[in-house]
C-alpha cells in the first residue's frame, strides 16, 4: 500500500510537470513556467522518495529529498513574487 502511494505520487507529480510545461509551451504565461519548474522539482523529489524507500532502501536520501522539495517551492515562490505586483 505505502509503495503504491509513493509510486502514484511520483507519477502524478510527473504528469503535472509535463502538462504544465505543455501549457507554458502553448501560452507562454510566466506563471505556468514557474509552476512547471516547481513540479519538475517535486517530481524529482518523489522519484528520490521511490528510490530511497523502495528501490534502494538502505541508502538514506533524506537530505537530497528535503533539498529538492525546498528548492522547488522556493523557485515557485520566487516566481510568484517576481512576476506579480
Amino acid at each position: 500500500m505505502a509503495e503504491a502511494v509513493f509510486v502514484l505520487c511520483a507519477v502524478t507529480s510527473l504528469a503535472c510537470a509535463v502538462l504544465l510545461l505543455r501549457g507554458y509551451a502553448r501560452n507562454r504565461v510566466p506563471l505556468l513556467l514557474w509552476s512547471s519548474l516547481c513540479f519538475v522539482g517535486l517530481a524529482v523529489n518523489n522519484l528520490l522518495l521511490v528510490v530511497d524507500l523502495i528501490i534502494i532502501p538502505g541508502r538514506d536520501l533524506l537530505v537530497l529529498r528535503n533539498l529538492s522539495g525546498l528548492l522547488s517551492l522556493a523557485l515557485l515562490v520566487f516566481g510568484l513574487v517576481w512576476d506579480s505586483e
Partner: protein, 92 residues
C-alpha cells in the same frame, strides 16, 4: 521551511483566485495548502511508519488536485485561459 513556502504559494494562488474568480487558482491554492499540511503531518509522524502513509495520501491528493485543475481548465476552453494570466500580466 518547505511547509511555510507551500503556505505562501497557496496564499498567492488564493489571491489570484480572489482577483480572477478562476477555479484553476482555487484548485492550485487548495493543493499547495494540502502540501503544507502533508509536510506538517509527516513532521509529527516522523517516527511512526505505520501512519506515515496518511501523510503521503494527503500529498497524493494534492497532486491529483493539480491534474483536476489542468483537466478542468482544458475542458473550459481557451476563453478562460485568457483570464488566468491577467493578474500576472498587469504587473508587466
Amino acid at each position: 521551511m518547505t511547509s511555510a513556502l507551500c503556505c505562501v504559494a497557496g496564499l498567492f494562488f488564493l489571491r489570484f483566485w480572489r482577483k480572477t474568480r478562476d477555479r484553476f487558482f482555487a484548485f492550485f491554492a487548495t493543493s499547495f495548502l494540502l502540501m503544507a499540511l502533508h509536510r506538517m503531518v509527516s513532521l509529527y509522524l516522523r517516527d511512526d511508519n505505520e501512519h506515515l502513509i496518511t501523510a503521503y495520501i494527503i500529498r497524493l491528493f494534492s497532486f491529483v488536485l493539480i491534474l483536476v485543475a489542468i483537466a478542468d481548465k482544458n475542458r473550459g476552453g481557451p476563453r478562460k485561459k485568457e483570464a488566468a494570466p491577467r493578474g500576472m500580466d498587469s504587473a508587466r
